[in-house]
């Protein structure tokens, strides 16, 4: 069953949001993903995720509200529909 860990980093100062999310994704089990809630789009996170074998989908809900879904590459259960 798909499980989602929500990680709200809006109150944290750089690079804590990146530190927290890298720690969180490192412990992901099959079928699990992280939903990161951030005040801005974390452009610098993406290359770090790619290098570690993760995929992501970023969505701007508002100018200061961004949600980023992160899952392990190839984990079809954790990935949003259409994205693996």
């Amino acid at each position: 069953m798909r499980r989602e860990h929500v990680l709200d980093v809006r109150e944290l100062e750089p690079p804590e949001p990146l530190e927290r999310v890298l720690d969180a994704v490192a412990t992901l089990q099959p079928g699990e993903r992280v939903r990161m809630i951030h005040r801005r789009e974390p452009c610098l996170l993406y290359p770090l995720l790619e290098k570690r074998g993760f995929r992501y989908f970023a969505e701007a809900k508002a100018e200061d509200l961004h949600e980023i879904l992160i899952w392990r590459k190839g984990d079809a259960e954790a990935a949003p529909p259409g994205l693996i």
Partner: protein, 435 residues
Amino acid sequence: MNPQTGLSLDQAPPILVPFRFFLSAPLFALLAALLALWFGPSLLDSRWQPPVLALTHLMTLGFLGMAMVGAMMQMLPVLAGSPVARPVGVARAVHGLLIPGVLLLAGGFLLGMPLPVRLAMALLGTGFMIFIVAAGLSLWRAPSGNPSMIGMRFAVAGLSVTVVLGLVLASNTGWAWWLTRWVQVTNLHATWGLLGWVGPLVIGVSYQVVPMFQLTPAYPKSMTRWLSGMLFLLLLLVSATFLLPEGRVQEPATRVVALLIVAAFAAFALVTLRLQLRRRRKQSDVTLLFWRFGMACLLLALVLGLAGQAMPAWAGAPRADFMMAFLFIAGFAVSVVNGMLYKIVPFLIWFHLQSLLIGVVRVPNMKVIMPEPGMRRQMWLHFAAVPTLALSALWPPLIYPAALLFGTSMILLEVNLLSAFRIYQQNAKLATKGS
């Protein structure tokens, strides 16, 4: 949003691209402090003396120029998503040309020799041209909606005007031809450099860096949309007033435009201070204090500028210019750059180590990379140096303690930056061993 729109590691420039500039900057400020110690109170007799010109350019080109060029090379890809093409080559060339260029220019001024100034013109002209073309192309390609980008575009345009005017003035020294309006062109050059390049770049970068690192609300849209463009337009108007015949029309026209420029910068300083009061995290840190101090100095410099407009006797006082310049350059610009370096240097080290050290060792915490006590010591020295410097405009012997404080503060800044960089190098070695 497409998952592939993020920054790739190939786009993030290698760490030495910004760091070669950051690590050089304090050394120029240290040289300026040594010059001030050497020449002493006589420096404050007139702003037109060769050592004053040398000292000013060591600060503006050497410290501010280096730090700002380095910061832009780093920020264009991160903030604009539009990296500078061939960042390593551009950084090497610009850095390699600017360093001897600044030293030769200062040396030429000091020794009163035309040849070093001519060489400096070639080096600085080429170095800045490469930077302006590279940054300009990147800004041209960047998506236009981002307010920081707008600020940076105007700043690069302001830098171009400053460089052209600087080359005209230097050619006058290098070839001893007679520039009839030397004083006016010098004032215009300084105005574009400080208010057209340094100011708008700080403003543009603040729109991103203040909310991001100091966890404040965003700057108001009305400000981010219009301020930089309005400032640029006002500077064009200032330049136009120089073309008017001196006398009845020129004086009030210049005064009105100067007042509007003062109002624009004051609005920026006040809004920044207000946003900082509304930040989410209440504990203060070194960067926040540097920025607050910088904004207070900017406001003081503006008040002095206004006093000059209202009381021509004050503007005509020989050392009024010195006090304003000390407050704007050392008090505002150096403080803001110094504070920003304390955020971006440890952040970049942390970021580059994150991509190097996967599965090797845990990346050191930001507070380990740049320890707070070292930053605080340097900050207090700087906070003591600036008022002493400003007061030396009233009582020139104070230039000695001011230069000592400022020079020591710059040595500590360099030590802090180098210690952080050493942590990067040590950990990067582990990565090569680990892989």
